[in-house]
Symmetry: C2
Subunit: 322 residues, 2 copies
Amino acid sequence: MTPDLVAAAQARLAGKVRQTPLLESPGLNRLAGRRVLVKAECLQHTGSFKYRGAKNTVLALQENGPLTGILAYSSGNHAQGVARAAQEAGLPAVIVMPSDAPRAKLEGTRAYGAEVVIYDRWSESREDIGARLAKERDLTLIRPYDEPLVIAGQATAGLELAAQAQAAGVTAADVLVCCGGGGLSAGIAVALDLAAPGLRVRTVEPEGFDDMARSLDAGAILANPPGGRSLCDAIVTPQPGELTFPILSRLAGPGLAVSDDACLTAMAAALQHLKLCVEPGGAAALAAALHHKDALTGDAVIVLATGGNVDAAVLAQAVARL
Amino acid sequence: MTPDLVAAAQARLAGKVRQTPLLESPGLNRLAGRRVLVKAECLQHTGSFKYRGAKNTVLALQENGPLTGILAYSSGNHAQGVARAAQEAGLPAVIVMPSDAPRAKLEGTRAYGAEVVIYDRWSESREDIGARLAKERDLTLIRPYDEPLVIAGQATAGLELAAQAQAAGVTAADVLVCCGGGGLSAGIAVALDLAAPGLRVRTVEPEGFDDMARSLDAGAILANPPGGRSLCDAIVTPQPGELTFPILSRLAGPGLAVSDDACLTAMAAALQHLKLCVEPGGAAALAAALHHKDALTGDAVIVLATGGNVDAAVLAQAVARL
């Protein structure tokens, strides 16, 4: 991941991605015991930051020659980002999605014109299915995080954040990022290293899926034990990415893990204090700010609210906590 | 309402109010049958546009000499705007609120440090109570809409909107504004008259409280019949303001009215497609875009989502529609 790739992504995405606001609320600050600045990536096109990386990758690939179609595998946010970027480019997209993906994400992906291929998360390999489809139908695979163009696209959120945090008077703070494979965390870490060296990324994962935290601690890639379950469908990946881990190993602080319960409470807080609809996996970082106060230092913390694509039944659980 | 007042408000509020985003979603466009651009004023400080007018008024009054305290009456959004503006100015605030105001608004107002005085909406006059308190305690009243400084503050939302709509390629469209006394509608109308003459304000009110629509149609101020009920607590005012009506009579198109049911459906659409938590009265304009398509012309419509301060039970009704 070079500064050139990040600068190219920034130029490519200018005017195409939404500059999402950095929000703050006195009520939320009181709950957290310090200033909490929330970067509202749930307001990004397609309802998550994933559009940044997908759009950057499709545009960059097209610069190198015509494409016949795009393939991705994803539980739903990368799916929608890729589907929309492909649709805008006039390209067919095939997205491999697990059968237990949220309905909102399945419908959202189809609404962006993509063909959805369902697989069983527990008995089939999405990578194998994807490789077969890519070969059969001449599709170009866009990986969800282990792809430099994707990481560079996500980094643009970090560049925005660096400027917004400075405008808010925060130049030294932890930046909590909801983490699956680590594409957003790594992208933001690279961006902050370039543009705001006083800000430090810390990954936040669901309990039982804290592979990145344990890997950072061990200094080597460790996988999650099989059989875990979490409401945070967006960030339940088996292990850190091969490209993202070395970046985070160099630049990130210690990782954190949060319970589903804490994520639901954070979703309620986002509705009440920020007027944002955030999905469980998108609320993990805010949950850490509210529930792991003692693991943080300083009088401000920055939080990524990474996505808002949530089914009614789960959202209702959060509303019930208001 | 002179251009000078609006320009002064813009200068005074620069960096103090949040520039709220103008959001668009393909899914929402499909539902509405045309482009729908949503100005997300629920993301404004205090969760509604009301902070603009309140902040402008407190700052402007202070320019003319010291104040001893602020008084306001409001069902809750003006209340929170005034309470926060007073708190930031180091001034005590007394807010007269109806006993049936949403809990979120009562608690929010107190959280900004204000003293809340409860009255019965059906048997007492908030104006009389306010006048007595103002005299007894040397408080300066900030009216919710019939106050030039408040209207000028709300106009800053219109100035932002003019630039954002142009950037989105929309220079001719109806601008639907949730309307109680008409302060926001009048402010935006004045701003658009100055900055985007191809955009035209149209008021949206709850059914049974469509006093502004009927007054605009009749060319004279008409009141609502007594005894109406609506979920849209933020915009159930008895009749148009004496300052706001002449402005809207000159600048606005025909008014629209929407049912509570349509507002709940619009709240669900805002959660799903925009990831925004909007209160019933704040969703009225979006409801009109979705339910009165035939009353609109053109291939784009602009909508103000004016507030997001809603109690859990009402939000749950909206979530149940997803």
